[in-house]
């Protein structure tokens, strides 16, 4: 039987803790890995949501000449935990007229829709749960699944305000999805790939007659089409995450709370966390597609070019079946990295290199995240017809123009 990362993980890592793991049947081992991966995603997502609810409130405080939460824990950093506990222990209220099944299902679909893109979102070359070929499609598709959940949430409680929220989101989604998809298409045309790792790798390859173009290798600096597409993608992303000035589906002053009017406690928390998670997904995706992913604006330490380290890496990767197929292959790269770290001293350097990439990616992502917060606490809300006008009559022609430009660039200029 082929030795996969999963097997090695079970034998070496788990086996070291609990010898019984070495004789564990394969299906059980995979299940353990599966759960581990899921726990990792949920953990990361929850951490993001918690940290950024706090971050957002402090930044909002800064913008609004006030303090923000500063009572629970030092500088109020435990505030999100306190809020979380509050939401957990709240009474679960279901309206009497609600369609109970859909009502219960809606927040879960929203949550899962926000969760799944994390599977394919890479943090660096090697740090990705599953590096599937259709990564970009996967992310965009599951971002759209969230909308179905919101529509269900709008319909199920039997509240008119919820219904309006759901209706608005439907109209909004039809508006922003098309230009956003076209903006992503620009990158697909330029890179010739929908694999997120490949898209980032393309952005470090020679451009502008330089072998190491660094910042100039980023998509936005390679093509004016990509620059324009980035702006539209980001603004579309604001609409996709229902953030101001596109927070119409939950417009407080108009629709009370829109689609989550009738949700409370943990059900509401699911919507809330999903919003923050999908904000991260949009920002990370924008970084990966347009801002060079994990490539730094200044050159990274030349670890990548270090032959010996690359040798160690490829040896380890091969040994641990990082490129393996089958169920374990899905976790291969990640499992391989983990095992490499735990078993080989040379891998530490690689880890440092990868960490540097992760830091790069997160810095850029969080910069975009910060801008989202900044925009939210500065701008008034648009009207639904203005959103549709902006997306369909302004962004759509421009994004088509970007696609045409990208085609010309690829075909004519090579």
């Amino acid at each position: 039987m082929e030795s996969t990362a999963a097997d090695i993980f079970l034998q070496r890592v788990l086996g070291a803790i609990w010898p019984g793991a070495q004789t564990m049947p394969a299906w059980l081992g995979y299940s353990v890995l599966l759960l581990l991966g899921a726990a990792l995603i949920i953990g990361w997502m929850s951490l993001l949501a918690l940290a950024w609810t706090y971050g957002e409130r402090r930044i909002a405080g800064l913008i609004q000449v006030r303090l923000g939460p500063n009572r629970v824990g030092p500088q109020g950093i435990l505030q999100p935990l306190a809020d979380g506990i509050k939401l957990l222990v709240k009474e679960d209220v279901v309206p009497a007229v609600a369609y109970r099944f859909i009502y219960t299902l809606a927040p879960l679909i929203v949550f899962v829709g926000a969760l799944l893109p994390f599977i394919v979102l890479p943090f660096s070359e090697r740090l990705v749960i599953s590096n599937i070929e259709l990564g970009l499609y996967f992310v965009l598709a599951f971002e759209a699944i969230e909308v179905i959940g919101v529509l269900m949430a709008g319909w199920a409680p039997g509240s008119k305000w919820s219904l309006y929220g759901g209706m608005r989101l439907a109209a909004q989604m039809l508006s922003y999805e098309i230009p956003m998809g076209l903006c992503a298409l620009v990158i697909i045309i330029l890179t010739g790939s929908v694999n997120l790792g490949e898209i980032v790798a393309w952005q470090s390859r020679d451009a502008w007659f330089m072998e190491h173009p660094w910042i100039f290798g980023w998509a936005i600096f390679r093509s004016p089409a990509a620059l324009l597409a980035f702006v539209m993608f980001y603004v579309g992303g604001l609409a996709a995450t229902k953030r101001a000035p596109f927070d119409l589906p939950e417009a407080e002053s108009e629709l009370v709370a829109g689609y989550h009017t009738e949700y409370s406690g943990m059900r509401f928390a699911f919507f809330f966390m999903a919003e923050y998670a999908s904000m991260y997904v949009i920002c990370a995706l924008a970084t990966i597609l347009f801002l060079g992913g994990w490539h730094a604006p200044i050159p990274r330490p030349e670890l990548a070019a270090d032959a010996s380290l690359m040798e160690i890496w490829s040896r380890l990767a091969a040994a641990h079946g990082a490129a393996g197929t089958g169920v374990a292959g899905k976790f291969g790269a990640f499992g391989g990295s983990l095992i490499a770290l735990l078993t080989d001293p040379g891998a530490l350097k690689i880890l440092l290199h990868q960490t540097f990439g992760v830091v790069n990616l997160l810095l850029k992502t969080f910069l975009l995240y910060f801008v989202m917060i900044w925009v939210r606490w500065t701008l008034p809300r648009l009207r639904i017809d203005q959103v549709m006008y902006l997306c369909l009559k302004v962004f759509l022609p421009f994004s088509v123009a970007c696609v045409v430009w990208a085609l010309i660039q690829v075909v004519m200029l090579g």
Binding site: Q64, V65, R66, Y164, A244, L248, A251, V256, R381, R383
Partner: protein, 380 residues
Amino acid sequence: MTLLTAPRPDTLRTEELLVNMGPQHPSTHGVLRLVVRTDGEIVREAWPQIGFLHRCFEKVAESVTYAQVTPYCDRMDYLASMNNGLAWCLAVERLGGIEVPERAAYLRVMMAELNRIASHLLAFGTYALDLGAFTPFLYGFRERELILSIFEKISGGRLLYHYPRLGGVARDLTPELAGEIRAFIAQMRRAWPEYNELLSENQIFIKRTANVGVIPAAMAVAYGLTGPCLRGSGVKFDLRRAKPYSLYERFDFDIPVGEGIKGEVGDCWDRYWVRMREIIESLRIIEQALDGLPEGEIQTKVSRTLKLPAGEVYVPCENPRGESGYYLISDGKTSPLRVKARGPSFNNLSITHALVRDVLIADVVAIVGSIDIVLGEVDR
């Protein structure tokens, strides 16, 4: 053709939806209830339903003394207590022929104008809130806080002041407080351009308010609109100039009117902009009042059980929201025979039904917000 257009029983059916907006709704400024007939996002018709905050002010006024009515008036338009109290005192003083010392009149003007600014700042903030921008609200509160602390020092209250009294005012202005008011004027002048950068000149804000809820001048007059709502439609009418009271004729100030800078004359942006410019004009009045503040008494002797001669009186005052006044009938006893309060919000609100026709839900909020009502005064 008939096959395509004739309604079939199995096709999707659309219907209009009757929605209750309020009284527990984030943007109805208190307990206003709007019954809204909607067709999708479009609001076909809206009927304002009022009365949730009715406290029988007019009836209560018949059974208490004239002096005791004064604090009740504070609770009419609770965002402009100074102006309300002033309107009541002026009515009683005119009927009773009570002379108010000049210093007291100046202090009343000063406080009324400070209250006007505080009220307009709140209108600015809540209007931004209605349109989805949270931050201007807190900016408005930052400056409003300075006014409230001035009010607290001179009257003891932060919302309901009971400062104008029959025949004068409650407390005198100390030099320190005068300095504080001057500091506020400077601070307000600094902050004003900030507000405009943040909201007035914001493209989204302009797109949301310009050409929305247009009230032509004739319509504004016909519905009895007063205050910024009337002036926003381009009618240059201000009671402080038209029928001066409390020595307003001595002060020099402009009357801003809607000019249709961003859209049509009389749209939401114009009404908003009139309020913003009135802040600056009020600052000018306060400055003049501080400079020309005469020395002397602040209170004439008024009997506790004041008896007014039989008769009727009505003194209209320019409140932040428009014409406010108390129609007072006395039969010579210690309490009024009948009081009728004219609150500007009530009349201004009456245009809602005519204005909210075939607009989007978001526009309803923008229109009602631009009228700037206070339910305490509508329901009294």
